[in-house]
Amino acid sequence: MLDIFLSAETLSSTIRMSVPLIFACLAGLWSERSGIVDIGLEGKMLAAAFTAAAAGAYFQSPWIALLLAIGVSILFSLVHGYASINQRGNQVVSGVAINMLAAGLAVVLGNEWFKEGGRTPPLPPEAQFPIFHMPGFDAVQSIPLVGPYINILSGHSVLVYLAFLLVPLTAWALAKTRFGLRLRAVGENPHAVDTAGISVAKLRYQAVIIAGILCGFAGTYLSVALQGSFVRDMSAGRGFMALAALIFANWRAWPSMWACLLFGYLQAVGLRMQGFKIGDVEIPVQFINMLPYVMTVVLLAGFIGKSIPPRASGIPYTKDR
């Protein structure tokens, strides 16, 4: 029992499971802080996951895969940006369209290119991201009791470390840089920003492009590093969990990370609970699969205090009013 909830393997898996959530959650953070609601995180992540797996299988290089995945993800965010910024369309509807488009395109194109019903071939080790070992951590492993726990910080894909580095970077950029302050202002009061002679549209486009890049990382990590290939609908609601984490974290970077780690932990526990028994009764695997979704609902239901979104989020900006 304790083995499932507190073992070093579970915690290590927690870190890995939370990485796509952290990338996606930060993507949502950038976008929503500028006033653009992004329901399409899921779709962009899925599109990136497919592109990365397909490109990885073709070019046998994780870096080309990452680059192309980011490119495709940015393309989708530009569509979202055009619909929300230029056309002043409904941002939630645009996000839903992007999710559907990505899910359909990945399977149609994947089936055409690889003839495996939308799957991509498993990636060989050459197409994998390098693993980073913390210097000196081999010795740590032998320390009794705490050794394995300290060691969970070492030996992950480089993208894992990038995700955790991006958290302080985002927090700092949004709080201390001129760009970050303007971006937040545009999400709270675009009219004021406009009056100051700064382009609202340009700032919002920059924000959605950053969101695109981050979703590119999320998807690439999901298919290349975590799974080793693409299967249909593999994002499995992670984009929405990331949004829930964002709300839970009240649109701030550090709390976002903790929320994503919590969701990652639930997924990790779920993975290890397959076939888990209480006494003689086996807990059906379906209930374990349900756990992260149920927890999302419970957390969103505000048993954690009220969260306040950026004031202008979801409202298209019109100059002449």
């Binding site: 929300s84 509807v93 899910a103 089936n111 929405f240 209930f287 979704y293 969103l300």
Partner: protein, 364 residues
Amino acid sequence: MSQRGDLPTWVDVGLIPLLNLLLALAAASVVFLLINENPIECLGIMIKGAVGSLKGWSYLLYYATNFIFTGLCVAVAFHAGLFNIGGEGQAYFAGLGAAIVGLNLEFLPWPIVIPLSIIASVLFGAFWGLVPGYLQAKRGSHIVITTIMFNFIASSLMVYLINYWFRPIGKMAVESREVTGAYILSFREIARQFFDYKYPASPLNLTVFLAFFVAWAVWYFLWRTKLGYEIRAVGLNQDAAVYAGIKPQRIIMIAMAVSGGLAGLVAVNEVLGAQHRLLLEYVQGAGFVGIAVALMGRNHPIGIVLAAMLFGLLYQGGTELSFAKQHINRDMVVVIQGLIILFMGALENAFRPYLTALFFKADD
């Protein structure tokens, strides 16, 4: 800046949606070209497969039955200012109601058990919509995220229930036993039994008439009853509704329950009418199609019926296309659906400024 209402009505509800649809189809053509296919030829196969025969029409109407229900589901929520993406889960969960009543009360005569099963479907669907509605109204949870989560929860829950509750012992296929009491006849069976006519095999059943009736009923409900008025008032302006003595929280919950109940009627078409058993994943994306149908139908029942038939054409055509061209996946339909939502929903005003300019020029 162009305002809505500047343009004549026929442009607003006819020309603009048509132009947007053409744009979506143009984008879909690009996808066909990407997989080395001739878009015109593919479109031809789809249209011929759907409306070129009585069988094609039957399938079209069978799909349209589901889409009318889910389109109305999305529309009722939209009128209350809510975006219900949970039609899929609500329809799936409703299958539970249809199956519980249909399988356990089959000793009753059909005129009793069929209405009871229909009511159970609606109630189960309504419950699955009401919970997110409650969470939105009372706890401020984002309805979009909650309904999506409820789709995932329903999906896992139903796998469990069908597997452990409904599957007869010793049977391999993960499905319930056949519903015999609440058995809604198909067109084929009716033609054979009552008219001695050989109607082509299709899942089209009497539920299609229920769909048209419900479309009318939703129109009556939204535009001719007090509750419908209150729903629309809350959707248009919540603050103004409060001053009119309407309680938005109550209306949000009612709207979500009605919305979920409408999605629940998909279970009638599928579990009682087409499959006669509870199957895994039997909704097959109809809940998501409802979003596109509602957007395209401008949230009005007449528009929704027409849009549902168009999507019926798309689905039946897509099936025929995947038969004719082995390498084209059926998910092509999902791509077209996404494009339609994009161009008819998020980019719906793309042509408006140009058309407004055009019409004002003509007036001068």
